[in-house]
Symmetry: C2
Subunit: 355 residues, 2 copies
């Protein structure tokens, strides 16, 4: 069986960690024997932008459309404004390919300690399901009376019933399939009185169809505090684009850091390719040093395999990562060690080989 895969390593540490992910992919291909990846790599990044004035060729989305899956590293570097690198590459992919589910596990891996004093592995194991196509990331708005004292900037948060229903339904379906009894929805309807009251209404409507699941609507401020004080409260958290973004970086922090957190940008209907990527950025400050933690990128390969129907390979990858962490000898600096990116990748490969 053949799977076509588009690889976009991006900027900064992106190519470094992608390198390790590719080694893992190659190994599981060999080990499994039942599938083959047709890989094409794209150098669409800030370097490309500085040369061509755009982040990808005009037919970039056309090209990507025909792939089964996309593996993404990270984009962004100081010479290109972030909103350009983001709005011309990662956000169009998420939106155009209707990857409306951004699935982000928050899980304290074996071998690691949470920075939260009193929390254990049992307390830290949930998923955040983030809306990924609309809401606060609408690109609608602008500025008026520029450079005068009367200047204003407006950003419209746009929530559609279409977009909100599909993510909330997905979250309930996910909870229901995984036998989860509690679903938490992030809101801020007390202050965002148009958008988030609408969000709440839809959550309440859809919750009616899932009587066995307890629904909790928490304001985003309180919810962020609970991530620190009571993470054991959570199983499935559904959140808007911005709130999900904030909660998942925070979620990564409470399970040990941004270097560990993977994500899937999923088009559940499989009409378009889904995309897998670490939730961290391109980390220009440590780029080129070969010390970035490749775990988030490697785990993203695991999530991709799961999406393609090889959930046992996802488990194997995660087990290998955890074995290395439990062993504790090979750790990148973010985890308190001195290992390089490729030391870490190699250690994971090593384990994978023997599982």
């Amino acid at each position: 069986k053949h799977h076509s895969l588009a690889v976009i390593p991006g900027d900064g540490i992106g190519p470094e960690i992608m390198n390790e992910a590719m080694k893992v992919l190659q190994l599981i291909e060999e080990m499994h024997g039942g599938f083959k990846f047709d890989i094409q790599s794209f150098n669409w990044n800030c370097e490309y932008y500085l040369k061509h004035g755009k982040m990808m060729p005009d037919n970039g989305m056309e090209i990507l459309k025909d792939f089964d899956v996309i593996l993404f590293g990270a984009v962004g570097e100081p010479r290109v404004p972030d909103h350009i690198s983001v709005w011309e590459l990662i956000l169009p992919i998420r939106k155009t390919f209707e990857q409306y589910v951004n699935m982000r596990p928050i899980k304290l891996l074996k071998g690691l300690e949470s920075p939260l004093r009193h929390k254990s592995h049992d307390d830290l194991d949930f998923v955040v399901i983030r809306e990924n196509t609309e809401g606060e990331y609408s690109n609608m708005g602008g500025r008026l009376h520029q450079n005068t004292p009367y200047e204003i900037a407006v950003q419209n948060n746009v929530f559609t019933r279409y977009g909100t229903e599909r993510i909330v339904k997905y979250a309930y379906e996910y909870a229901s399939c995984h036998n989860v009894k509690r679903l938490t929805a992030a809101t801020k309807s007390n202050a965002m009185n148009h958008s988030m009251t609408f969000w709440d209404d839809i959550v309440k409507e859809i919750s009616q169809q899932y009587n066995t699941i307890e629904t909790n609507l928490y304001h985003i401020d309180a919810l962020a505090a609970y991530f620190v004080s009571n993470p054991e409260k959570f199983d499935v958290v559904v959140a808007s684009n911005l709130f999900g973004d904030i909660l998942t970086d925070l979620g990564a922090a409470i399970v040990g850091g941004l270097g560990l957190a993977p994500s899937g940008n999923i088009n559940p209907e499989q009409k378009y390719p889904s995309m897998f990527e670490p939730i961290h950025g391109s980390a220009p400050d440590i780029a080129g040093k070969g010390i970035a933690n490749p775990i988030a990128q490697i785990w993203s390969v695991g999530m991709m395999m799961d999406h393609l129907g090889y959930s046992e390979l996802n488990h194997l990858i995660l087990e290998s990562i955890e074995n290395v962490l439990v062993d504790g000898k090979v750790r990148t600096p973010d985890l308190g060690g001195t290992a390089t990116t490729s030391d870490m990748g190699d250690a994971i490969l090593e384990r994978l080989r023997t599982l």
Copy 2:
């Protein structure tokens, strides 16, 4: 010297903790002898709403306008939608009285342990200066095609140069007066490409006037993660209305909980009354049980005294609170003890008397 004070205890635990705050206020008045508070209390809360169909009388703002300061408890209870209780009471006060600075100290008090394993008192001592009148809390927007599949809800985030400049300037001035060398501004300009790029521009413009202060712009998602992983990075954090809201609940969590965190809603020009309140809500779940922690409310009295020019009394109040915490005998349930709200208030009074 006379100070006129409007007291709005509100709902839920509001009146319970306000009671303790009033005892503290009375004591410092007696102890100091140099001033007198003319106190008027207002029962504007959800109960009032259920009777009168509004959260305050039509001339409520007129009445409040003439006070020097306002002490606020918390509003909200299940029978009244949150956005009503909030948009008809607390938000109009903040906006109409141009309390554009929401000052929120994040400080690990002596005697308490942070839930963050590796962080000490030195690591956890900074302030968040939150914009308090505009931005994401604009009340602009609405719904279209209600109850059809094509329904949309729009919430406009509206940032004015006027509103943004004044809060950013205030933050730099604050940093400069307090000899602070680093200022952090929360942004999300990579995704919120109209509003937050504007915010960034203004931060950069104003930063030019403060050459000795290092400015760091962090995206809100990363910043939330840093609050957990590297809180020692921060001295003064300036943030928009929503981002400041999220960061300060999170901030309260990393220093031990929402029951401890005070705030000042300040009109720096003193054209209108400023308002002091705990950052937590009315906590309907524990209301009436007499177990709420009154510290946030009592410390808010301290911030009020500071605002009125009695900074030594603020220090005394904070010292009394810390003495009680260090002593450790009297603690409300949120801090792991069994003390009641009034036990805690009395213990603080006791200390205050002997300082």
